[in-house]
């Protein structure tokens, strides 16, 4: 099932002025329900414009349509605010938007505005804090006392607490160190697994989308260039590099192995998969895999 379906989306900024700029040209795309969907594209490719279409912050030009679970979100323009509760959008650096006295109040801000009961708000706040790994003891603290990675996770929890059917995150791990990235993506994963909701991640890191997304949509100059599984998309190394993106380093390495006459499988994009493949080639697949040497051990 498709959570979001975009049909014939065109959008032009500053129309009929000398600054007229068409950001999206007849885009057709689907984002699958219950999956982590990745959206990638070079700077200026139209990613931000596209995600703002998804929760009705921007309206597509006629005859474009944005279907949320099959229903056009612009059928009743007066009810567009409801769409924003159903499709949560987290901008880049969401921690800049923290403002409450305590983390708990900040996470509760969204659910409160939805008019939920006190008990329900409490339940949601605790649930969201748990997803992103924010300890109970931190909830009473001011968000400004926390580290950068913790602030980011509190901000994410604030949107998760609204339990949107579709959660869109723009560069959720930008500027974080490797552990911070793992914590943020881990939080998103556990939210998605538990709620079985739909997640859309916008990112510039090919390694991150390879590790965390179920499928990818690639935008180039306001149009869809590629869609498919990570394996399918990362086969197109040359095209992706040409449009200012790339493939995970490990995919490039596997191509280099192939150029050295080794018959490696196509579509490998994580270190774990590469390791399995090389062990297979060395016929050492009986060797114990993923033990103490692995970073998660």
């Amino acid at each position: 099932m498709n959570a979001l379906e975009l049909k014939n989306i065109t959008y032009t900024y500053s129309k009929k002025t000398p600054f007229e700029h068409t950001a999206l040209k007849n885009v057709n795309a689907v984002f699958k329900a219950g999956q982590v969907n990745g959206l990638i594209g070079h700077t200026g490719s139209g990613k931000s414009t596209l995600v703002q279409m998804m929760n009705g912050l921007l309206k597509p030009e006629e005859p474009g349509q944005v279907l949320l679970f099959g229903k056009n979100i612009w059928d009743e323009p007066k009810k567009i605010r409801d769409i924003r509760f159903r499709v949560g959008l987290v901008f880049q650096y969401p921690e800049y938007q923290l403002f409450e006295e305590t983390c708990e109040k900040d996470i509760a801000f969204g659910p409160k505005n939805m008019g939920l009961s006190e008990d329900e708000i409490k339940r949601r706040v605790n649930g969201a804090a748990e997803f992103v790994g924010i300890d109970q003891s931190l909830l009473a603290k001011s968000p400004f006392e926390l580290s950068g990675g913790q602030k980011r996770r509190v901000a994410l929890a604030g949107v998760m607490a609204m339990e949107p059917e579709v959660l869109i995150l723009d560069e959720p791990a930008a500027g974080l160190d490797p552990i911070g990235r793992e914590e943020v993506f881990g939080g998103i994963r556990s939210y998605q697994k538990t709620k079985e909701n739909t997640v859309i991640i916008v990112s510039h890191s090919m390694e991150d989308v390879a590790a965390y997304c179920d499928n990818l949509t690639v935008l180039k100059d306001g149009q869809i260039m590629l869609t498919g599984s990570c394996g399918d998309v990362f086969k197109h190394e040359r095209e992706l590099t040409e449009c200012g993106l790339g493939v995970p380093k490990i995919s490039t390495f596997m191509r280099l192995l192939r150029e050295n006459g080794i018959d490696v499988k196509d579509g490998i994009y994580t270190v774990d998969a590469a390791l399995d493949e090389i062990l297979r080639l060395l016929k050492k697949d009986d060797v114990e895999k993923k033990d103490g040497g692995n970073k998660n051990a």
């Binding site: 500027g175 974080l176 510039h204 200012g244 192995l257 050295n260 080794i262 970073k295």
Partner: protein
């Protein structure tokens, strides 16, 4: 290179070459037992130190990658070097001048800040003018330089970062990588001897990253500018000639990229990664497959591993 023959940047490069012999004796940046704590509110307990007794020497013309998890103290160190912050304890010398001395005049302080430029993370926060070339001219204008000299420096700086064709553009029309290159041009136009890049590639797409990294490498290798590059991207750190890892306010590892990235376990304990190919080779080694994982060049790695696989078939 002939284009740069008469340039100010080139004359600095020449100066560097002429003083090479002296440089071997005095490092360009010398940090001596430096500690730093941020001020706490009056009624609160003092904050723990961000840097603890750090000593570090950086030679002129080197390319140093500075790694460390968020909050490890690497940005604080960068701000101490260009006098945005002053150490709580210890001394910092720039080209032999004690910049922590109480007798440092305001003029000397501005002089140090001109010689050590800084490029920050967010491309949208650093450009002030509405036209690219005016933005690049902002720094030299503030230094009170002759208009004809400013013109020359701006043209040359834009050429160095390969942005000449955009000089009449408005910054908002540029991509993130292009904006960062304009920000770099603005620094170059002040003829610095050292540039600190504080996660300047973190917000860019892969293409923008590549362009900025190539520019950084060019400034270092061809122009002799000392580079300190703060990053979380291990593949970028590999391109430096020295990697310094900071953890909890002290220097944890210091060596060539090869030396540092061979310490996979140690890096993981302080919350850092290694490049993906190094990780793969490390895991293979762990399983008793004998490939040299200290090699960082991907092509050489692929050849070495291909040989191991071919040998294994025989």
């Amino acid at each position: 290179m002939e284009n740069f023959e008469k340039s100010g940047i080139n004359s600095i490069t020449e100066n560097l070459k002429n003083t090479d012999i002296d440089e071997k004796k005095t490092p360009f940046i010398k940090i001596e037992n430096v500690s730093f704590s941020y001020d706490s509110d009056e009624d609160e307990a003092p904050l723990p130190p961000v840097l603890k007794d750090v000593s570090l020497e950086i030679k002129k013309g080197s390319f140093v990658a500075l790694l460390g998890h968020n909050g490890s103290g690497k940005s604080t160190l960068a701000k101490l070097i260009n006098l945005i912050l002053i150490p709580t304890k210890g001394k910092i010398y720039i080209d032999g001048t004690d910049i922590t001395s109480e007798s440092l005049t305001e003029d000397e302080m501005y002089g140090i800040r001109r010689r050590i430029g800084m490029v920050f993370q967010n491309p949208d926060n650093q450009l002030v003018a509405t036209v690219v070339e005016e933005d690049v001219a902002f720094g030299p204008e503030n230094l009170g330089i002759e208009p004809s000299e400013i013109r020359r420096r701006v043209d040359e700086a834009l050429q160095t970062v390969n942005m000449t064709q955009y000089k009449k553009h408005s910054p908002h029309q540029l991509s993130g990588g292009q904006k960062q290159r304009v920000a770099i041009a603005g620094i170059i136009a002040m003829l610095p001897e050292c540039i600190i890049f504080d996660e300047s590639t973190a917000m860019l797409d892969p293409g923008g990253r590549k362009d900025v990294m190539n520019t950084i490498e060019y400034l270092n290798r061809e122009k002799g500018i000392t580079v300190i590059h703060i990053t979380h991207n291990m593949d970028e750190a590999v391109r430096a000639d020295r990697v310094v890892v900071i953890n909890d306010g002290t220097i944890f590892l210091d060596g060539t990229p090869k030396e540092v990235f061979s310490k996979v376990q140690e890096l993981r304990t302080v919350g850092l990664d290694v490049p993906q190919v190094t990780e793969l080779f490390y895991e293979l080694n762990y399983r008793g497959i004998d490939v040299d994982f200290s090699e960082l060049d991907e092509k050489k790695c692929a050849e070495a591993l291909a040989n191991v696989i071919i040998q294994n078939r025989k």
